[in-house]
């Protein structure tokens, strides 16, 4: 336990810096649209329609958002299953972004559904669960996973509260910490199982749209492709976030560790692309790539965005170049995001009578949710031991010789 205290430390420093004030200002502006959505209804505030019932609140906030929240999943997989303890300093920051990312996705859902007050019925009416529904599985898994993520990250909060002034928080932390510590392996396993389930199910969700989803995307392997893409995005987010926090919050760079992490991204990216092409071949749809239209174009862009970072990170030297690593992670995040947006919106074809482009209010709500996430992230890392402590870096040597 004491070894752990050296690993993580609060960033500290003043909270109300200039960038933070701007961030809060952005959020306040977007919050107006939160109100507008509920005051005016979905018809007035969104560009959604009967042909495109799902827009960016689902495709971006939930489908891309939770994939960006897979940092915790990806790192936990490395640390606890592949037993790479080296990466342990990355676990807490990754878990925090995951917890925040998933929580914000859950917030966004409440803007999107027409009758959000009835979402509560989903967990409390098990006798009404439709076990055929992939969406139900996603909903239940995400709800549970959010709880698991906050429990997994709770030791970081309790670590601080235990040393704080006597009171409710301190008493609770002292009592709860050993319990959470005991339960942690089972929580960790649950934290690995749940994303495996619902990230793949996010693929199954679109499989049910049948012929309405363009054949370049619609494949029985959608669940697998969604799973692999969330892992790739998860790793990339960890790299991205770590580089950003070292730049913005002035933390020490974790480049050697990130470089070895990047080495794992290469096969993941390659596997994704290989699966896609093999699948197209097996389904006899490779010929579709010969037609030049929007769909072929998007497919090729996705493929490029997945393969480019793999090439960028091919050599160990390139992986140790912090700037290159950061850029590769950005491309990879972009690739995953484009793939998911395509599968949910662009490649979805309800017929030529319908069109969709997000309204200003939709974009502001999505932006507001992201702003809120960043605000919470900054507040938490400044006050709680989440990021790796200065000096801890030296003790943790990279696995690569």
């Amino acid at each position: 336990m004491s070894a752990h205290a050296h690993l993580h430390a609060p960033v500290g420093g003043p909270l109300w810096t200039r960038p933070f004030r701007i961030l809060v200002g952005v959020f306040a502006f977007c919050a107006l649209f939160f109100v507008y959505r509920f005051a005016a209804g979905l018809g007035a505030s969104t560009a959604l329609n009967d042909g495109y019932p799902w827009g960016i609140w689902i495709a971006f906030d939930v489908v891309v958002g939770t994939a960006l929240g897979c940092g915790g999943y990806a790192v936990a997989l490395l640390v606890y299953i592949l037993n790479r303890g080296t990466y342990h300093p990355l676990v807490r920051p990754a878990l925090l972004t995951s917890a925040l990312g998933y929580t914000m996705a859950a917030v966004a859902i409440h803007f999107d559904v027409g009758r959000p007050w009835l979402l509560l019925r989903v967990p409390i009416f098990p006798h009404h669960w439709n076990l055929d529904s992939a969406l139900l599985e996603v909903a239940l898994c995400v709800m549970t996973y959010i709880a698991v993520l906050w429990l997994e990250i709770s030791p970081a909060f309790m670590e601080k509260w235990r040393e704080g002034p006597p009171g409710f928080l301190r008493r609770t932390s002292e009592k709860a910490a050993p319990i959470v510590d005991k339960a942690l392996p089972w929580l960790i396993a649950l934290g690995l199982l749940l994303p495996t389930m619902h990230q793949s199910s996010l693929g199954t969700v679109m499989l049910l749209t049948g012929t309405k989803l363009h054949p370049l995307w619609s494949t029985p392997l959608l669940p697998l492709l969604f799973l692999v893409s969330c892992l790739g995005m998860g790793f990339a987010v960890v790299v991205f976030e770590s580089a950003l926090s070292s730049g913005v919050l002035g933390r020490q760079r974790e480049t050697p560790m990130l470089a070895s992490l990047a080495g794992i991204m290469v096969p993941v990216l390659a596997v994704f692309s290989v699966i896609r092409f093999v699948d197209l071949g097996l389904r006899g749809k490779l010929g579709l790539l010969g037609t030049f239209d929007l769909y072929t174009g998007m497919f090729l862009i996705e493929t490029l965005l997945f393969l480019a970072p793999a090439f960028m990170l091919l050599s160990p030297k390139a992986r140790n170049d912090a700037g290159n690593l950061f850029r590769a992670a950005m491309v990879m995040i972009l690739g995953g995001a484009v793939y998911r947006l395509d599968a949910y919106i662009v490649a979805f074809r309800p017929g030529s009578r319908f069109a969709y482009f997000p309204s200003f209010a939709e974009m502001m709500v999505s932006l507001g949710v992201v702003a809120l996430e960043v605000i919470l992230y900054v507040v938490i890392v400044k006050h709680f031991p989440i990021l790796s402590a200065p000096g801890a870096e030296a003790a943790v040597r990279p696995a690569r010789a």
């Binding site: 009967d50 042909g51 606890y80 303890g85 529904s133 309405k212 669940p223 697998l224 080495g263």
Partner: protein, 312 residues
């Protein structure tokens, strides 16, 4: 990154792939397509008989307590552009710009035998009930609109303008059937262009009309043999169509006989049948995490980050 790391990872990914692939391939054969209940009822709409009087549209409004849609007519008369949040039944006109070919088309829920919407709905707000009618219960609807995403016929509509919106779709006037009446639309049709009955009877009648008049009716595309749309499409529907123009012109999609939800649900059930796979995976993950944690606790903290790894 060491080669060992990557090899382990590749192995992991390959294993996942193999599991996923077998999970998909095997049960796909296993999922049994649903069949129509013996008392299944439906509609038969013969486009060649319809004169486009729209009496059925009015009758539908009265039967279902829906106000006329006057948005397009500037508040003057009922003029729905299509099915929408207040219109469960609509007559559309198809006109070929290059030939005199024209036809009316009645749009309403087709009441699939194996409906995608019912498979999609989280709490079963959409369900197939008596006579195989796909019904809607707003009490269990969170307004997620997944049913709209999956319907191949674009039938379920949403009350976009309302603050407590519901899904709106034809429920074959099941409230009237209980009173021994017909659906609103079939009751008033002056030409019997749309008739109500048991699906088996309607199908026989439709086939009789084709046999009697094979030249009059059409298939999916131009030149195709005449067919009854809905006999097999998307696993079959309880509402059937006959037309004197190709069905694709009327906006009816070219669906195979495979039920729309067949593949997706085979995949879903393949992975989750009896919750065996998730439980097994959880047991394996739990065991591995436990073992790795123990190993790290026992190992001297000399290894790179080893001590820290276990002591979370």
């Amino acid at each position: 990154m060491t080669a060992v790391d990557r090899r382990t990872l590749l192995k992991g990914v390959a294993a996942t792939g193999a599991v996923a692939a077998s999970g998909i391939a095997l049960p796909a054969l296993g999922r049994v397509a649903k069949v129509a209940p013996p008392d299944a009822v439906g509609l038969l709409y013969d486009a060649s008989l319809c004169i486009g009087c729209k009496t059925c549209v009015v009758a539908c409004r009265e039967a279902n307590d829906k106000k006329p849609d006057t948005k397009l007519s500037g508040g003057l008369w009922d003029m729905p552009s299509d099915l929408n949040g207040q219109t469960k039944n609509v007559i559309k006109l198809y006109k070929d710009p290059d030939s005199p070919e024209r036809s009316y088309f009645k749009a309403q829920c087709l009441h699939c035998i194996d409906p995608a919407c019912v498979g999609a709905c989280m709490l079963g707000a959409l369900q197939k009930r008596e006579y195989g009618i796909v019904t809607y219960d707003p009490f269990f609807c969170s307004g997620c609109r997944y049913c709209q995403m999956v319907c191949p016929f674009e039938i379920p509509k949403f009350e976009w303008e309302k603050l407590a919106p519901k899904i709106v779709k034809c429920e074959l006037c099941n409230h009237r059937l209980k009173e021994g009446k017909q659906p609103g639309c079939t009751e008033v049709c002056p030409r019997q262009a749309v008739i109500y009955g048991k699906r088996t009877d309607l199908l026989a009648e439709a086939k009789r009309r084709i046999t009697e008049n094979p030249k009059k009716y059409r298939g999916q595309r131009k030149g195709d043999a005449p067919k009854v749309y809905g006999e097999t499409e998307g696993g079959g529907t309880q509402c059937l169509y006959l037309a004197h123009v190709p069905f694709e012109k009327l906006g009816l999609p070219d669906l195979s006989a495979e039920p729309v939800p067949q593949v997706a649900q085979a995949v879903q059930h393949g992975i989750y049948q009896g919750a065996v796979a998730p439980i097994a995976l959880y047991a394996v993950l739990g065991a591995v995490v436990f073992r790795n944690r123990k190993k790290q606790e026992e190992a001297p903290p000399a290894g790179p980050g080893g001590g820290a790894g276990g002591a979370k």
